[in-house]
């Protein structure tokens, strides 16, 4: 077998490259140690015993019997069984103050304020368990919870405020979908409903009652946000639908369906027919187009935005709009007739009038919806049709037409798709139905992952045979079953996890455990985690007193009539903001500089797991950037305004940054450092009245750059 064949397992096919299918026929699985036992699979010949764990039906395991010392919390019993089996002794429970800071960042992505710290400490003194439970409830009820957990979902759905075409057109309406996600988490929308709305919200919206008409339409932003390529409307559309299908598979099922675009999936029971069955569903769906190359000479305006009004309300507005367009067109043809027969002296005036009407027409058509009709970057059904298999993923080489449907090997029977509909609703029903174990498993694993830094399955968007095995398969199924039994309540899973002793373990080291399980796969401690990009920025703004906790309005894009973006003059902007990072304008063609620096999401593809890098540009930014000076200076001003006493300011700073009291030594050393700084400043040209703030700015920059600020014990 050639290297080329060995390495080309499946994937992204360049236009014109025809070698993949040939390579495919020679393939065998990769031979690294994690996957050495993986063999090619023929879904037709599997017996239940041989089925890959993730494709088996959900079991509902009973928590195992373990030593009484580990209590009776079901999660603890599953985890403790692993400890007992391997001879591990868990480390001690973390202190209330460590748990408090961990809870705040885990649930709302913000540090506790000094008042919140004091309130918790007081409550904790009276009844620690009650105080802890109360804090969980308080944070789950916070509107900032949805901003934190909505962002996790935005990673999965590759959220951006631009289209990704060659000019990276802005999509002002995208933020409606962002807000929908945040609201869904805050209201603890049942996850099955959340899935159904994102796939088929427009269809659900038309069913009675119509209470959530607009939200459900907006929800299909999940599909609408599929990556656009090239310049013209719907150009390279098969690649956009590849992104749709790939994101659909990885987000909801934890399956890498993309492989099946060009050949049968090498490891998982997914056929090329399955891929084009899904393709048919999405190809029967009308996606919006955000515009392109809008220069004066060449206009490709927005189109197919989804109306947020019901047909009855929209009809008169559309009629008025159509009439307006018709009136202008008729004025124009009258003028054109005049032009043909008028005096030469009149020609210029008439030409100018015609140009004026053209401009008016362009401006009216530009938003892609009739004037006065609010729209969403969302989808709706168009003429339903099945599609043919594309050989090698090449739309020019087609085979048999396959009926629209889901993945056959994971469906007891074919989807019953009414001929006139895309089938998205049936696909959503299939995904959230009683026979589909992957949907709940994948989501509880994501929740687990964001509480522990790693999922029970370490490859959160790949539950297939080339992904990782679960570290605790029974716990996985227990949680998935609990999830469904609770009515798909995400908040209920948070409660279950956060009340376990396992989650509450400290992050301390232990030599003998380390020797047995150095990777902490069996969770004998809580892994220390660096904050991700958004909490870093939000916490900095929060402690400096400048974070705006309100939800901002639309992004300050230039007015649509001024857009002249082309591939030569792409849309590129970065708006200043003091709002939470989840609200920053997100582009596909370039990343926000701060988020990029601290390992923010990839804005071009679904992100299951953020990396955590420690690179020099981060240190340079913290030490030397003008932005950090502003934040540190704001922080200094806050400390100075809240107290005149140096020790009190230092104590305040420690509470704000680290959610703990400063030690006596830290106060002494801080005091001495500040006095040194002031001493040095005396020999600079800094005016006397500014020196105190300068000294505190230095001190604050240090605290904001420190490991204790960046890491969660």
């Amino acid at each position: 077998m050639t290297h080329a064949a060995k390495l080309a397992l499946w994937g992204i096919l360049l236009i014109g490259s025809g070698s993949l299918a040939q390579a495919w026929t020679e393939l065998s699985p990769p031979d690294d140690e994690d996957h050495a036992d993986v063999e090619s699979v023929d879904p037709q010949t599997l017996t239940e015993d041989e089925t890959h764990w993730a494709f088996r039906p959900l079991s509902d395991p009973t928590p195992p019997a373990v030593s009484d010392a580990y209590g009776d919390h079901p999660i603890d019993r599953f985890i403790a069984a692993g400890w007992e089996h391997r001879g591990l002794t868990p480390v001690a429970t973390a202190t209330p103050r460590v748990l408090m800071r961990r809870l705040y960042f885990d649930l709302i992505g913000l540090p506790p304020t000094p008042d919140q710290i004091r309130a918790f400490e007081e409550a904790s003194r009276n009844d620690p368990d009650a105080a802890y439970s109360e804090l969980i409830e308080q944070l789950l009820a916070s509107p900032h919870y949805g901003e934190r957990w909505g962002r996790h979902w935005m990673d999965v759905v590759r959220y951006a405020d631009t289209a990704g075409d060659n000019a990276d057109y802005p999509i002002p309406e995208a933020s409606l979908y962002r807000d929908y996600i945040i609201d869904a988490f805050n209201s603890d929308m049942p996850y099955d409903q959340f899935v159904r709305e994102q796939l088929a919200g427009d269809i659900l919206a038309k069913q009675e009652p119509r209470e959530r008409f607009q939200e459900q339409i907006i929800a299909t932003g999940f599909l609408a946000l599929s990556r656009r390529y090239a310049t013209g409307p719907y150009e390279l559309w098969h690649l956009t639908l590849e992104d749709t299908i790939d994101t659909f598979g990885r987000a909801f099922l934890g399956l890498t369906l993309r492989c099946a675009r060009c050949h049968e999936h090498k490891f998982d029971p997914v056929t090329t027919e399955d891929y084009y069955a899904l393709y048919g569903i999405f190809d029967s769906t009308q996606f919006p187009w955000a515009g392109a190359e809008e220069t004066h000479s060449k206009k490709l305006p927005r189109m197919h935005f989804a109306s947020l009004l019901s047909e009855e309300v929209e009809a008169p507005l559309r009629a008025t709009f159509d009439q307006e367009l018709a009136d202008i067109a008729s004025q124009k043809s009258t003028l054109e007739e005049q032009l043909a027969s008028c005096e030469e002296s009149e020609q210029d005036r008439i030409k100018k009038e015609i140009e004026g009407l053209d401009r008016k027409l362009t401006a009216l058509r530009r938003p892609g919806l009739p004037t006065g009709v609010p729209g969403a970057y969302a989808v709706y059904d168009r003429e339903a049709h099945d599609v043919a298999v594309q050989y090698d993923g090449d739309p020019a080489q087609t085979g048999d037409v396959v009926p629209r449907g889901a993945i056959a090997s994971l469906s007891p029977e074919p989807l019953a798709i009414p001929p006139q509909t895309s089938g998205r609703l049936q696909l959503a029903d299939w995904l959230t139905g009683p026979n589909q174990a992957l949907t709940s498993r994948v989501m509880v694993n994501r929740i687990w992952q964001h509480h522990f830094g790693r999922g029970l399955v370490a490859t959160p968007s790949n539950f297939g045979r080339s992904g990782s095995q679960p570290s605790h398969p029974e716990l996985m199924d227990f949680l998935a079953s609990e999830f469904i039994d609770s009515g798909w309540s995400i908040k209920q899973i948070h409660r279950l996890i956060l009340t376990s002793k396992t989650w509450q373990l400290s992050s301390t080291d232990d030599a003998s455990n380390m020797a047995i399980d150095p990777g902490n796969t069996l969770l004998w401690r809580h892994d220390r985690r660096r904050l991700s990009a958004e909490p870093i920025r939000d916490a900095m703004l929060s402690v400096s007193g400048t974070l705006d906790l309100t939800r901002p309005g639309p992004h300050p894009f230039a007015p649509m009539q001024d857009w002249k973006y082309t591939q030569h003059n792409q849309f590129k902007d970065c708006y200043e903001s003091t709002h939470r990072s989840v609200y920053l304008m997100t582009q596909r063609i370039q990343r926000h500089p701060f988020l990029a620096l601290f390992d923010g999401p990839d804005t071009n593809t679904t992100t299951a797991l953020r990396t955590t890098s420690t690179v020099t540009p981060q240190s340079l930014y913290l030490m030397n950037s003008p932005e950090m000076t502003i934040i540190a200076s704001d922080f200094a001003s806050r400390l100075m305004s809240e107290s005149d006493d140096v020790s009190a300011r230092i104590e305040n700073a420690y509470r704000l940054c680290f959610a703990r009291a400063a030690t006596r030594d830290e106060i002494e050393r801080g005091t001495a450092s500040l006095s040194d700084l002031l001493g040095v400043l005396e020999s600079t040209d800094v005016p006397t009245e500014d020196r105190e703030r300068e000294a505190w700015t230095s001190y604050c920059r240090v605290l904001l750059s420190s490991n204790e600020f960046f890491y969660l014990d």
Binding site: N166, S507, I589, T611, S705
Partner: protein, 458 residues
Amino acid sequence: MSHHTHRRDFLKCSAAGLTAGLLNDRLCVAARAAGGHPLAPRPSHHPAKAKQLVFVFLTGGFSHVDTFDPKPQLAVDHGKTVSAEDLRNITTQPLLKSPFTFRRYGESGLEISELFPHLGTVVDELCIIRSLHTDILEHFQSVLAMHTGSATVPMPSLGSWLSYGLGTLNPNLPPYMVLCEHLPYAGSQVWDCSFLPPEHQGTRIMPGDEPIPNLTTQAKSSTIAELERQMLRDVNEAHAADRAGDPNLRARINSFHTARGMMQVAPQLFDLTQETAATLDLYGIAEADHTSFGWQCLMARRMIEQGVRVVELIDSGASGNWDSHGDMQAHRPMAKRADQPLAALITDLRQRGMLDETLVMICTEFGRTPWDPGPGRNHWHRAFSSLLVGGGVKGGIAHGETDEYGILPVKDAVHVHDYHATILHQLGLDHTQLTYRYAGRDFRLTDVSGEVIHEILA
């Protein structure tokens, strides 16, 4: 607390007391000793001809038949129509002769057009590939393909793959530095590391006053900056003392030391006062110039000297580039800007004995149509030219041929994947073995194809 350096001790130890060279040595030793430094040099797959790469990207698609691929028959048949399938979906088009004259240079007698007289003087160093082809004729996609091998879905850049495969030779500087005044098509995706670990990301260098951001302290004096570093170290050491054994905390403490190293090394990198007047003249750099393409080419040589693994130069952005639709004469100012500095870079590397171990690639995203009503030309992706220089590649040769008009390769066609495979090969890497597992499969720069062009290797 013994692990704290006394807070006043730093006052005796100024930043200047620690020379960059010493720091560099210490870091190299530390990197080797630790073995875990993500950018520590890694062994190549086979003995490398070249240690480092200079990647010159001329944005917009320079025309092959007006630069490095002379087509006398195009002049003879000027205005005659050609018809063939897939001429941008237009079947009949008039041929358009080049408005530029070609002449032979050097011992090899290779022909180059009047646009590049300076490159003519180093023609015997050049390997001109005249049969390159790519898959899509859109700027965005083709720029991405030339950088990542993928014309569609963003993938890791060539520079990131090399950093991942080989590590760096100088931990005080990023392994992959990109001199780029204006964002190209596809934006920062062209130097993105995508799914490769983030330390392999290209670092954009902005020609101008602050080539690397945040190198200068905002503190009101260097003593205060030093005090801040000392305070940070104290705070972090105290924190780490209770959490002994956490390598992530230690790595982050170390990254501030490395940042100090970069603050000392980088300004020296950009300080041209050590360069002779003759060198500055060679590149055509005027006094106080720190933005011109000549300055960028000289910086490339200095970065290579400092051990940066990959230096990329992007000569222009998504507009004001080689995309001469309106008139081929628009190539003149573009060539005038690039010609002398590129020749100077090759000459300078040769004179310093560095060209043998440095591979220089000079390329664009696609060529331009040999047919057109004129006076400009459209995009053409099925044949275009590129240069490889030094790094164990034969000089004074042309590889591959296009037909009599330059429309299609007729001999030794070179796909972008072949081009990349050859570049990796010269740097000691087998393109089929340089892989990274992501989303369930092993990915590589050359996807599932690519053949090393052995004929051009010295």
